[in-house]
Symmetry: C2
Amino acid sequence: MESAERIISLRKDRPSERAVASVIEALAAQFGNRLATSLAVRRQHAHTSTWLENEPADAVVFAQSTADVQAVVTRCAEHRVPVVPFGTGTSLEGHLNAPFGGIAIDLADMNRVLEVHADDLDCVVEPGVTRKQLNEYLRDQGLFFPIDPGADASLGGMAATRASGTNAVRYGTMKDNVLALTAVLANGEIVHTARRAKKSSAGYDLTRLLIGSEGTLGIVTDLTLKLHGIPEAISSGVCPFPSVEAACNATMATIQFGIPIARIELLDELSVRACNQHSKLNLPEQPMLFVEFHGSDANVAEQSQRFGEIAQESGGGPFEWATRPEDRNRLWQARHDFYWAVFALRPGTQSFATDVCVPISRLAECVTETQRDIAASGLICPIVGHVGDGNFHCSPLIDMENPAEIKAAEGFMNRLVERALAMEGTCTGEHGVGQGKMKYLEAEYGPAALEAMRAIKRAFDPHNIMNPGKIVALG
Amino acid sequence: MESAERIISLRKDRPSERAVASVIEALAAQFGNRLATSLAVRRQHAHTSTWLENEPADAVVFAQSTADVQAVVTRCAEHRVPVVPFGTGTSLEGHLNAPFGGIAIDLADMNRVLEVHADDLDCVVEPGVTRKQLNEYLRDQGLFFPIDPGADASLGGMAATRASGTNAVRYGTMKDNVLALTAVLANGEIVHTARRAKKSSAGYDLTRLLIGSEGTLGIVTDLTLKLHGIPEAISSGVCPFPSVEAACNATMATIQFGIPIARIELLDELSVRACNQHSKLNLPEQPMLFVEFHGSDANVAEQSQRFGEIAQESGGGPFEWATRPEDRNRLWQARHDFYWAVFALRPGTQSFATDVCVPISRLAECVTETQRDIAASGLICPIVGHVGDGNFHCSPLIDMENPAEIKAAEGFMNRLVERALAMEGTCTGEHGVGQGKMKYLEAEYGPAALEAMRAIKRAFDPHNIMNPGKIVALG
C-alpha cells in the first residue's frame, strides 16, 4: 500500500486568484457579515481532528436556507471554485479540508426540526440539527433517533459520512435510517431523492447514493429520518472479561444467537483506564463489554439473562447492571467521550483514526492479531469497538514531533487495514474516506468499482467543485 | 399525467440488422445450443405477465457463469446491441421486454449457492437461485432469507427490482438484505460492490445503486445476502374486520405501538373470496388481516396478545390462530398464490399491476378513497396489501378485447398513482418501474432528480445497451 503522503488529490490546480476573488466579492455582497474570511474562522472550518494537516478554505459562508446553499454553489460553479460543506466539524478523515481552497458552507444555522410525523415514525430536519438536539426535541413524544456517533454531530454530516455508532448493531446505520434527502447538486439544481413512503422501487436510489458521498456529489439541505418509539424498558450493564478475545467471542455468540442487543461495545484495559480517569468511573481495569437491551420489560429481562449466560460461558462476569437512568447515561456518556479520554493517557499527543470493520466471525482473530501488532510496535494504543458490527477503533497516541513514531503509526495503520481487507473487511466502518482513507479504496474495491465511482463523480460534478480531493479525487 | 401509450422509450432506433446478425453469429459460435433464436423461446423470455405487450429479443443466451455474461455484454457493446437479463420471468412491469431487440441473457442456470457463512449470518449465491430454493438449502442450518415476493422469483431479479413482500415490515426489502453484489457493467468490466463486513463508509454505495436498477446499469452475477436465524417461535393468524378501513386502522396502531410484527397483510372481501376459491380455504368473506409474529415463545405470546387488543379496539375479531405449521404454510401459500387466484374471479381477463405505497398515516384514507373509485368505475378489482409498509395492490380484471374497459382501468390506475403521490407516496412500492411506471417518475421525483438518474445511466451505459427503454430511457 502507498504511504500517507499519497492521500493528496489528483486535482493539481487551485482556481485562479481572480476566480476566488470574484466569488468572494459576489458572496460578500449577498451575504454581508454571513461571509467570513479571517484565518481563524477559516481554520476552524477546516480539518481540526487528529493528525491531518489543516487546509482552510478561502472564505466561509453561514447558510440559513436551501436557497443560500444553492446561491453559493451556483456562484462557485460559474467560476469553478470548490465548495466544502461544514456541519459540526467532528469528522475524522479530513473531510472538511479545502486542499484547493474555495468556499466552506457552514450549515450549523440550518438547525430547525421542520416536521415530526409521529404517526409515521419519521421527521424532516435541516442538516445542522445535531443528534442530541433532535432527541431532546422528540423526547416528549416518546420517540428517538438511534444513530449516535461519539460526537454530537450534525445529521447532515452524519448522512454525508454514512455514520453509525453504538446503536447500529440493532438499528442500522444512516443508510438504514434516512428515508429521503433534499440536496443541492453541482449544477445548482435542487433534488428531492424520495417520497415519505416507507419503501419504494421507483428508479435509482439517489438517497443511498448521496449518503456516504461526503459532499462530493451534493450538499444535503434537509433529511427525512426514520424514528423509533422509546423502548418501554432499557437496561444497561458492564461485563468484564479475562481477555479481549474472550469479550469478542461472547459478542460473536450473542449475534449468532440472534439476541436483538441494542448496544455491545468493547473497551480494552487501556480504554477502561482512560474512561475511569476522564469520566470518573470506577470500573475494574480489564477488558469490558458495555451492553444495552431495549424492549418490553419481559423481553429485556429475557435478553439480559441469555446474554449473561453467554458471557459466563466465555469466562466473563460478573455482570453489573446500571439500573438507574443516571448511571446508565453516565456510562454511555463515558463511552461517547472516549475520543477525548484517550488523550489523557498521553497528553500532548495526536491520534490516528482507525476504523476497520470485519465479518463478525473474524473479529476475535482480527483484534487479537492487532493487539500483538501494537505490542510489537511499541505503540500506546487503546482499542474500543462497536463489536456487534465487527467494527473497532485503535487510537495510537503519537508525538507528532517524533518522525519515527509517526512512521510506526503509519505502518501500524496500513497493516491494520491490510489485515481487515484480507478478512473480507473494510478500511472504514463508519468514519468515511475523506482524505485519510483514499489510498485504501483501490485495494478494497479493485479498479473497476473505483472507476465506476469516478464515473458517478464525473457525471454529477464534471468540473470537480464539490468537496474536491476526497473519496475518488478526479484529475 | 400521460396516457399509457407514452411508456415507449426515447430510444428510437433498433440496432441495424447487420449488427444483430454479427452478434448472433459470434455468440452462436461461442455458446452453441446455449443460444436460442426460436420465436417461442424468445417470447417466453420477454414480458409474459399482465397487460403489457410481449416484445421479444432477437436471441436468448443461457449463461452459466459471470464470464459468460461478460462475453455476451462485451460482444453486444461492440455492436451497440441491447442486452436484457432474465431470471424467472415473474416481473410485472415489462422489465423483460426488448423493445429494441437485442440479446436476452437467461440466468436461471446460474443457480448455485456458492458460500454459506452461518457464523456471519450471510451467504453468497448466483443470481438464478430462487428464494424458495435458498430457503430449502438453508433450513438445516436454522437460517432463512426473509424477502418473499409472491412469485418464487430469482434473487438476482429480486435485487434488480428492489423487491420486498410480506416480511418487509419487519426485515426490510432487498435494499436492506443485500450486503454486496458482483455485476457486469456495460463496458464489460466486473465490479464487486462491497466487502462482506456488516457495514462500511468506504465511498459511494454501488450496492444500493445497482439494487433497483433493473438491469439498466449492470447485470448481477452474484449476491451476498444477509440471513436470519429461523425464529424460535412463529405464530400466524387471521383476523376479520368490519371494513377495510378498520383493518387499516388496526395496522397503523400496530406499527405505531412498535410491535415488531413479521407480517401484516390486508385482503379485502373480494380477495378473500378469490383465495377461498383458488386455495380451498374457508375464510369468512369479509376484510381480513393475515398476521405473523416471530420471536421467542414468550415474546411471540406477548406480541400476539397486544395485537389482539388493538384489533379488538378497531372492531376486528375474533382472531383465529393457525398453530400447526401446515395450516400456517397453507395460509401463506394462499397469500402468495393470490396473483393467480384473482383471475378465477373473472376468467379470460388480464390484470393491471398497481403497487402504490403511502406513509402509514395515510393508508386508511388512501385505501378508502380507492375503494370509492373502484365502485364508481364499475371495475372488478380486489385489493391486497403489505399494509404494515403502507403498500397495497389493486388488481382490476380487464377484458382486453374491450377498449372501454382498458380505458377505465388506465384512468383508475392514473388516479391511484396521483392519489398516492398527493399523500407523499410512491407509484411503486416493490414491483419496479420497468416500462409500466416510467410515465409517473417525473411527477414522483421532479425533473432535477430524474435528470440526475439519467446522468447516472449515461455515465454507466453511454450507448444505452443495458435493458434500454426501462426506468429512465435515454434518447
